[in-house]
């Protein structure tokens, strides 16, 4: 583990992917603003091209330029990410890992700001992938002709609006990388806000539509309040320990003999801030509104990257700071256990009756947050129980469970984004406000409909798709931890076994029941697409890049379900890095 000053050359090189992103942001800004403006040198007749401003040149007035720049920036950033992994991990075929590097501030008491390790690098990869898919898909979504026709929405989406969209996306991406790397609650908060604020704007990006701007405003207000509550909690923690550095907080927490009011209060409020990000009950209310108001690619971003942000925060707080010594119960275990069950049940029940596909997906995303929260609780149960041995590969149960959550967040990128992209494809024709848009899709677009069905099955967790793998890993993790005490006693009779299990076992059962409920509305989409008659038999408009993105998502969904070795290796690497001595 090497520590570098953030501003040193070595430290800077470690941040190449972020630098690429920053360069991309600048490029977006400059390229689209290049023009034939000239400055006259005072008192002379010499006019020097100032380049910025004036009428744009022909080559950079194409409205697709910003999207292309954004896509290439992200591809380049992913390349840099792999480049900076370090020699030990150069063979990414065997799982994706990274050297651990800590970036600190200079001075007498250096503060650890950012940590580059397998955990943060993997999350960066996830963010870049999600952003890449979203911006590639938006190439078609926002595309406008150089000669706009009569459709006013298209007219408005000219080059300048396009720049705004991609600029916001990339800035948000920059914030996300900061969250992934942060070792300091304050840095984490800055990153979170840097990532969130552009997304608020993106939700309201279609300011012409009433739903869009309403959703944006609502989402912003609720989000701002949650952030404020979280920030308040953070300030209480600072008041208590005098530092926001995670390692310091961890040490302070461990040295606390009896629970003190200040940190408990602080942690509770901090969880509210992250609870909003992952849209857990009761902070999820605005999610359906935001998802349905935003354009589908942005909603896809909300459901994946934005949720992932919240989980990074939760993992840092719950797993690093407040995870107690073996044998003790984590303070948040019961609260989180309860909320996880409420969240998954609420999400599934609400999705059951939703007639708007985007709202349905939003509720489904709430339910998925519930599953992942349940898995987090199992880690606490592992600490409180006696199941401390490692498995065949020398991994702790906690690493497996956290690995499962990361796995789920990763594969969500393929099928959640895929599902939103299909809706996005439908939106190229007309607004999608209820299920009737999906009617008879199989007859109009058999391949798109099949992909959508694959995404739905993956969301439901049907083998052999990626969604099954992640749910399977989480449930086995929970059951392993919950049954550990029973196994030690070699008690194999069924009823006493179940009664003797830790109560987290019932979380596994709750996931099980909820999966059964959720099948109803996921499969219903299939029924609508394959068996209902649609009003038209015409195919959807040709939007090649969007289709390509859908296929990539479908292939990823199947691939990571069948051949998950690489990803499992990668996520366990990441989970080990999270638990490694920081």
């Amino acid at each position: 583990m090497a520590a570098y000053d953030v501003l040193s050359i070595d430290g800077g090189l470690k941040l190449l992917p972020e630098i690429v992103l920053l360069a991309g942001i600048l490029a977006l800004f400059f390229i689209t603003n290049l023009g034939d403006a000239k400055i006259r040198i005072p008192l002379t007749r010499l006019r020097i091209p100032a380049l910025l401003g004036g009428n744009r040149f022909k080559w950079n007035s194409d409205p697709r330029i910003p999207g292309i720049v954004s896509v290439f920036t992200l591809i380049f950033a992913i390349g840099m990410l792999i480049q900076t992994l370090g020699d030990d991990c150069a063979d990414i075929m065997k799982g994706f890992c990274s050297e651990t590097t800590i970036l600190t501030t200079t001075g007498k008491n250096p503060v650890h700001l950012l940590k580059l390790d397998s955990f943060s690098r993997l999350f960066e990869l996830m963010f870049f992938l999600a952003l890449l898919l979203v911006s590639a898909a938006s190439l078609n979504r926002l595309q406008a002709d150089s000669n706009p026709s009569n459709d006013d929405l298209e007219q408005l989406l000219d080059n300048r609006r396009q720049v705004d969209f991609y600029l916001l996306l990339l800035i948000s991406g920059l914030g996300m990388t900061v969250v992934a790397m942060s070792m300091n609650l304050f840095v984490l908060f800055i990153g979170l806000e840097l990532a969130s604020l552009p997304i608020y704007v993106l939700v309201a990006f279609h300011k012409e539509s009433k739903a869009g701007s309403e959703a944006g405003v609502k989402y912003f207000i609720t989000g701002a309040i949650s952030s404020a509550v979280g920030l308040y909690g953070m300030s209480l923690l600072y008041l208590w320990s005098g530092s926001l550095q995670l390692t310091v907080l961890e040490a302070a927490w461990a040295s606390m003999d009896t629970p003190e009011a200040l940190p408990l209060f602080g942690i509770s409020l901090l969880l509210v801030g992250f609870g909003f990000k992952i849209s857990s009950v009761p902070f999820h209310f605005v999610a359906p509104d935001a998802y349905s108001g935003a354009s589908s690619p942005v909603a896809a971003l909300l459901a994946t990257a934005s949720k992932t942000l919240g989980f990074i925060g939760l993992m840092r707080i719950l797993m690093i700071v407040t995870l107690p010594e073996t044998g003790e119960t984590a303070v948040w275990m019961f609260a989180f256990g309860t909320l996880s069950v409420v969240t998954m049940t609420w999400g599934n029940l609400a999705a059951l009756g939703s007639e708007n596909p985007k709202r349905m997906l939003a509720y489904s995303s709430v339910a998925h947050a519930g599953y992942m929260m349940a898995a987090l609780v199992a880690v606490a149960a592992w600490k409180s129980g006696s199941y401390t041995e490692t498995n065949n590969n020398g991994l702790m149960a906690a690493e497996l469970i956290i690995g499962a959550i990361i796995f789920h967040l990763f594969v969500l990128i393929s099928f959640k984004i895929g599902a939103f992209m299909v809706i996005s494809h439908l939106e190229t024709e007309d607004d999608v406000t209820d299920m009737s848009s999906l009617h008879g899709l199989a007859k109009r677009e058999p391949i798109i409909a099949t992909s959508m069905f694959v995404f739905m099955l993956a969301l439901a967790g049907v083998p052999p798709l990626a969604g099954f793998m992640s749910k399977f890993l989480m449930v086995t993790g929970i059951v392993q931890v919950a049954s550990a005490d029973v196994l030690v006693n070699n008690n194999v009779d069924l009823i006493p076994t179940i009664l003797g299990m830790h109560w987290t076992f019932f979380l596994a059962i709750a996931i099980f029941i909820n999966s059964a409920i959720s099948l109803y509305y996921y499969l219903r989409i299939g029924v609508l697409m394959f068996f209902e008659e649609s009003s038209t038999r015409l195919p959807l408009p040709k939007v090649s890049i969007l289709r390509f993105v859908i296929f990539v998502c479908a292939i990823g969904t199947v691939f990571f379900g069948i051949n998950s070795d690489w990803l499992v290796e990668t996520v366990t690497n990441a989970a080990s890095a999270l638990f490694a001595d920081s």
């Binding site: 207000i221 609720t222 509770s268 009761p282 609260a335 309860t338 065949n392 086995t476 392993q480």
Partner: protein, 732 residues
């Protein structure tokens, strides 16, 4: 071993070639039905499927060529690992389980792989001649070829699977395809009923197989061949009673699939399917699945005996042998009175499969008694018989298909398209076809001889081996229960000689019995080619025998040519040291006398006869016809008392098995079914509907809480903060 790595990929792709081709045919057929080029060039998908099977055959030949000279043990190779996890075993330990797809290659699987792909290819070829020239199949042959291909992938996959679970999955795929193909003419009520019957009867066996597999999983904590076969019974003792139960249950599954007593009732009815289907599924490949399953149990028997548990599993082997003996005898008896050419073949199939089961029973018995050399001999003989039978019976069915096809055409020609209930499959309508169908009659003669066991022809070598081994088991090692199958098998050998000869002479010798039979003539080359190939395969039995096929297929010995030794062994019961065993010498000649002389002569005297004057058969069979004429003239006798006796009537009614099962169904199963349906409608559906409407109303209620007003949302955030603080503080 380096060589395996290069072929393992190709081996694993074999089942997927047909699996990937079938949707292509299905979709193309759906779109292009009725188009000229689809019909004439692509043969409604026949050419595509033939190409796919050709690829399979080439791959298989490559693999077999790679392995043929080498000697090594079976080996499982994991191709795809999907999930690895731990399961809790009944003894409190955990077991690592790996779900994935893998292949298991040894000589048994290689032999079956070759048999399956070779016959699938030839029968596909034959189908193009048979199916595409019949008007009633127009515009739906693509369905036939698609189902045919799924079946092939099921069979190939089953043979290659590296654990019992995949074996079971492919087994079920075959069951499904068998159902679809028997019911290919689903508009015919008899075909639909036969399909249903086959499906349900085999399902009875499959349920037992599944229970057996569950028990086996419970014993070993895995269904992987590698783990089960390599089990160390010293360090990890298992409950032998449980293991025995599991093996017997699995055997019941094999009984259903291979149509053995008492689950044999479906096979004769399955002849309702198109003839290529009968040839492929109900003679050459699918019915071998049960045999394969039993052969796969062999290492378990060897393993238990090797680890000191001698004789523990002998009961299972005895049950297998006895079931085989009973079926061989019973089926041969029923075949005596069948007039439908395909039904004779169906019962013959049943009987010959029973031989193989008995041989396997003997092999397992020797294995469990700790005599691996004898066990391997018996296993080799059984598998060699499987090979011979598959080749001969596949050919016989195709030849019978050729007869039926030409009869049908001739009838069509004479009656100008009117169908007035003429049965093209009834042998009492045939006779004297030897002059009209030269290739078919030759092929059928060769096939029948192989099944009968005429010396030097294919089936002879293996059948002798099976009978000798079951007698050896019975005589020398005191398994007195084994005398039942041993005696039954010997008698059945003579019966086989009778009914197979009867079929041939009724069809090809004598004067034509109807006008239709006079107008038959051979046409399409698509039908002839596979017959010729398989005739050579069948007659080439002597080559296989002298190459020591028996020890290759059971032990993996490299081939070496030694005809003289084989001849001495077969005819003089002489072992390697040159000692002649008088008991087996008598036994051998008794078998030859019964099956090759007495049986056929009785058949000739009853059903033989010269052809119509002025007609000559092809030289390959003309001597047979003339011989039969001679025998008939000298020894003809009246069998009407026997033919009209109660026994013959009982045999015609198939020994009342069908009536008995019908009665059970109507009296027992149907009332239970009605009750279950009622419970399902009132009880289960009621609960499900209740849950559904309950959750719908819950959903409506819960969504009302999402008011759409930001003020309420903020309220909720505040409430949530309180909940967090309350729960966290409350717990401390």
């Amino acid at each position: 071993m380096g060589s395996e790595i290069s072929v393992e990929f190709w081996v694993a792709t074999i089942p997927f070639v047909p699996l990937l081709t079938f949707p292509i045919i299905l979709f193309l057929g759906q779109y292009f039905n009725g188009k000229d080029w689809w019909k004439n060039i692509l043969k409604e998908g026949g050419s595509i499927s033939l190409m796919s099977m050709g690829i399979v055959l080439i791959l298989t030949s490559m693999v077999v060529a790679q392995f043929i000279g080498e000697m090594h043990n079976g080996q499982g190779l994991d191709i795809i690992d999907w999930i690895t996890f731990d399961v809790l075993r009944s003894d409190g330990m955990t077991n690592g389980v790996n779900l994935g797809f893998g292949i298991y290659i040894d000589h048994i699987s290689l032999m079956l792989l070759f048999v399956a792909s070779f016959l699938c290819f030839l029968i596909n070829w034959f189908s193009i001649g048979y199916m595409n020239t019949d008007k009633i199949n127009d515009n739906r042959n693509h369905r036939f070829y698609a189902e045919f291909l799924i079946f092939c992938s099921g069979m190939l996959g089953m043979v290659l699977a590296d654990n019992f679970l995949w074996l079971f999955i492919f087994w079920e795929i075959m069951g499904l395809c068998s159902y679809l193909l028997i019911g290919f003419y689903y508009e015919k009520p008899s075909a639909a009923a036969a399909a249903k019957k086959a499906f349900l009867t085999t399902r009875v066996g499959d349920v037992f197989l599944m229970i057996g597999l569950i028990i086996m999983w419970n014993i070993y904590g895995s269904l992987e061949f590698d783990i089960i076969f390599g089990w160390d019974y010293f360090t990890n003792p298992v409950d032998m009673t449980l293991l025995k139960t599991s093996l017997i249950l699995m055997f019941i599954g094999a009984v259903g699939k291979s149509a053995q007593f008492p689950l044999h009732v479906w096979l004769p009815d399955a002849m309702e399917g198109p003839t290529p289907v009968s040839a492929l599924i109900h003679a050459a490949t699918m019915v071998n699945a049960g045999l394969y399953l039993v052969a796969r149990m062999f290492p378990i028997f060897i393993g238990t005996a090797g680890d000191g548990l001698v004789g523990e599993l002998a009961d299972v082997a005895i049950i297998i042998a006895i079931i085989g003996g009973i079926t061989a005898f019973m089926a041969a008896g029923i075949a005596f009175v069948q007039n439908d050419i395909k039904k004779v073949l169906a019962y013959s199939t049943m009987s010959q499969l029973a031989y193989i089961f008995t041989g396997l029973g003997a092999a397992l018995w020797f294995a469990s008694k700790g005599k691996p050399e004898l066990a391997l001999f018996a296993l080799g003989a059984s598998l060699f018989h499987l090979f011979n039978h598959a080749m001969a019976k596949g050919m016989l069915f195709m030849a019978s298909g050729s007869v039926i096809h030409e009869m049908h055409h001739a009838h069509h020609h004479i009656s100008h398209g009117e169908h007035e209930g003429f049965d093209a499959q009834d042998m009492t309508n045939m006779g004297g076809l030897a002059s009209k169908l030269p290739i078919t009659s030759t092929a059928m003669a060769a096939g029948s001889m192989s099944i009968i066991g005429i010396p030097l022809i294919g089936g002879f070598w293996s059948k002798e081996g099976i009978i000798a081994k079951i007698w050896k088991a019975a005589i020398y090692d005191g398994g007195y229960l084994l005398f039942i199958p041993a005696i039954l098998l010997l008698i059945s050998a003579g019966m086989t000689g009778f009914y197979m000869s009867r079929m041939w002479f009724m069809t090809f010798a004598g004067k034509p019995k109807t006008k239709v039979a006079e107008h038959v003539h051979e046409e399409t080359p698509w039908i002839k080619f596979p017959l010729v190939i398989l005739t050579f395969m069948t007659l080439g039995g002597i080559v296989f025998a002298s190459l020591h096929f028996v020890s290759w297929v059971s032990e993996g010995h490299a081939f070496h040519y030694d005809l003289i030794h084989e001849m001495k062994h077969a005819f003089l019961a002489m072992d390697k040291e040159g000692v002649i065993d008088s008991t087996f010498l008598i036994l051998t000649w008794a078998t030859i006398g019964l099956s090759s002389i007495i049986g056929p002569i009785i058949a000739m005297s009853l059903y033989g006869g010269n052809l119509k004057d002025g007609e000559n058969a092809i030289p390959t069979v003309s001597w047979l016809v003339k011989l039969s004429g001679m025998v008939k003239n000298r020894w003809e006798f009246d069998n009407s008392t026997l033919a009209n006796s109660g026994l013959a009537e009982a045999l015609r009614r198939r020994l009342y098995f069908d009536d008995f099962y019908d009665w059970i169904c109507i009296k027992l199963i149907v009332p239970i079914g009605i009750g279950a349906a009622l419970f399902d409608k009132k009880g289960v559906d009621g609960v499900i509907k209740g849950i559904e409407s309950g959750s719908q109303s819950a959903s409506t209620w819960i969504r009302k809480l999402t008011t759409g007003s930001a003020r309420d949302y903020i309220m909720m955030v505040a409430l949530g903060s309180l909940i967090f603080v309350g729960l966290i503080w409350g717990m401390v």
